[in-house]
């Protein structure tokens, strides 16, 4: 069941440096929302605020509120928040010593689930959702690092789906992939949005135009503009957005 994710006046700091300045943004369920902006504009930091992963970075802190549906994520544990708001990273990060099966099952085992058949069911369901099942069903005990980069990224998506999140954060998920593999991931995103709230960070404007229903433009830690992707790319309200999407800078 997909939920709304709402950020209210979120600011973030690395030590004394303010990198995110009062961002307020509502991410709707069953849609793909993209965040675009030049490097260092706070896109990835914002995403890490949403699932409280920023807390894992030494000297980093945030202010403001994040709501998942009606619930403030700071009233849950960080672990619970991260299970509900899953995240996929800019490059595939399967656990290096684990098999394909164990990678997908990792989140379930960490929750204390021990029933083998129920784990196997969840692993299969997640791999099917990530469109990887047919390719790996006969070699589930193979080390995950032997998969191709694109397959590893699909595996990481399956690993996140296995713990049953309602939101998926994708931090430049195709930045290390070939054009064909990128297309595959984009098709997967399109398919997943029927079940999840999806937020994708991308430096690739064409990708945002292809996959996102709504787009937010970030610049120097501020959210400059947010709206339907077609509007933002064709009739931006802010001059800075126009300059960015037309390639005058960035």
């Amino acid at each position: 069941m997909a939920d709304v994710v709402a950020a209210h006046d979120v600011s973030a700091y690395y030590g004394q440096t303010k990198v995110l300045r009062g961002v307020t943004l509502e991410i709707r369920p069953n849609e793909v929302t993209a965040i675009i902006g030049p490097p260092g504009c706070g896109k990835s930091t914002f995403v890490r605020c949403l699932n409280r992963l920023l807390e894992a970075i030494p000297d980093a802190r945030m202010t403001g509120d994040i709501f998942l549906g009606e619930q403030n994520v700071y009233h849950m544990t960080a672990e619970e928040t991260r299970r509900k708001i899953g995240m996929v990273f800019h490059r595939p990060n399967p656990f290096p010593t684990m098999t394909i099966f164990s990678n997908v099952a990792a989140g379930l085992r960490l929750q204390g689930l021990r029933n083998r058949s129920s784990i196997a069911d969840r692993v299969e369901r997640s791999l099917r959702s990530a469109m990887l099942w047919d390719e790996v069903k006969d070699r589930l005990q193979m080390p995950a690092v032997l998969l191709s980069t694109a397959q590893q990224q699909q595996l990481c998506i399956a690993r996140v789906l296995a713990v049953d999140p309602s939101v998926l954060l994708l931090d430049e998920p195709a930045s290390t992939l070939s054009p064909m593999a990128t297309l595959q991931i984009e098709e997967l995103i399109e398919d997943l949005k029927t079940h999840y709230t999806i937020l994708i960070v991308t430096h690739n404007l064409q990708q945002a135009a292809r996959v996102a229903d709504k787009t937010a433009f970030f610049l120097s830690g501020e959210m400059i503009e947010y709206g339907k992707t077609t509007h933002l790319f064709t009739t931006p309200k802010d001059k800075r957005t126009e300059d960015y999407v037309t390639g005058r800078f960035g």
């Binding site: 030494p58 619970e80 800019h90 990060n93 656990f95 989140g107 929750q111 990481c156 713990v163």
Partner: protein, 268 residues
């Protein structure tokens, strides 16, 4: 002035020869030492010499020394590896804790201390009070030598795990402890294993800490037995020392070879 290609070729060959020569200079002592230990050690291990020494009043049973070395090494491992792992993980994973700097300073100082200090410490703190010599005290002394090195290595190994692997675990709801024991330790295990074997190979040959802790029983371990025999006045004893040195070399080489094999797997 234009440099002639021929001159450059000659210069290149000269440099190459120089590096080769320096390489030989560096390796020669090691090779000659190994050859010397093997040749004389084999003489020292011949039945004739062993019989002669066994017949003497000086108790130098080879089996005792081998067993002693293995027991001391295992005891040292049992103390040093868990402590080295836990403290190394603490230093690597909780860098903002208050005592971290003090602890790291202490570990660095301890790792750089000469091994004999460890022996002297255990001698003054334990051996003199217990009024006895023991392999356990030797293991404690060797642990003082090995632990700080293992702590430093463990910390470094954990630092080398890419942050994206940590984030991957946290992003599926792992707690800090689950991250460490479910993901990081298995990911680092081969590297840790390599460092453990390396460390044990090093302390296996240490003599200085043993002098203060198990000197009363000269047959307790190979390095100490070699040291004791080497000081002896009789020719047979000197040969015995060589024999024990050879055995020590074999044990250390086995550990290093296994460690090397593990690092090969790590690379691939």
């Amino acid at each position: 002035m234009k440099v002639q290609p021929k001159f450059r070729q000659i210069k290149s060959k000269l440099w190459l020869f120089l590096w080769f020569f320096l390489g030989i200079v560096a390796v020669l002592p090691v090779i000659s030492m190994v050859v010397e230990v093997v040749v004389r050690g084999l003489q020292g291990l011949s039945p004739a010499v062993l019989d002669q020494v066994s017949a003497s009043s000086f108790g130098g049973n080879l089996i005792h020394a081998i067993a002693g070395t293995i027991i001391i090494t295992l005891l040292t491992a049992a103390v040093s590896i868990p402590v080295g792992l836990m403290v190394g993980v603490y230093l690597a994973e909780y860098p903002n804790h208050r005592f971290m700097r003090i602890l790291r300073g202490l570990v660095t100082t301890m790792a750089d201390l000469p091994a004999v200090i460890g022996g002297l410490f255990v001698f003054s703190m334990i051996t003199t009070h217990m009024d006895d010599w023991s392999m356990i005290y030797s293991s404690i002394a060797l642990s003082f030598v090995l632990m700080p090195r293992l702590i430093r290595d463990t910390e470094q190994i954990f630092h080398n795990v890419p942050s994206i692997i940590r984030e991957g675990a946290l992003a599926i709801g792992a707690t800090k402890w689950q991250l460490i024991f479910y993901v990081l330790v298995p990911s680092c295990f081969r590297f840790l294993m390599r460092q453990w074997l390396h460390g044990l190979a090093r302390v296996m040959g240490e003599t200085a800490p043993l002098i203060f802790t198990s000197f009363g029983d000269h047959a307790v371990s190979l390095p100490l037995a070699a040291f004791t025999f080497a000081k002896g006045p009789m020719k047979g004893w000197i040969l015995e020392a060589w024999g024990r040195s050879l055995l020590l070399l074999v044990f250390v080489s086995i550990l290093l070879l296994v460690s090397k094999q593990i690092s090969r797997r790590v690379v691939h």
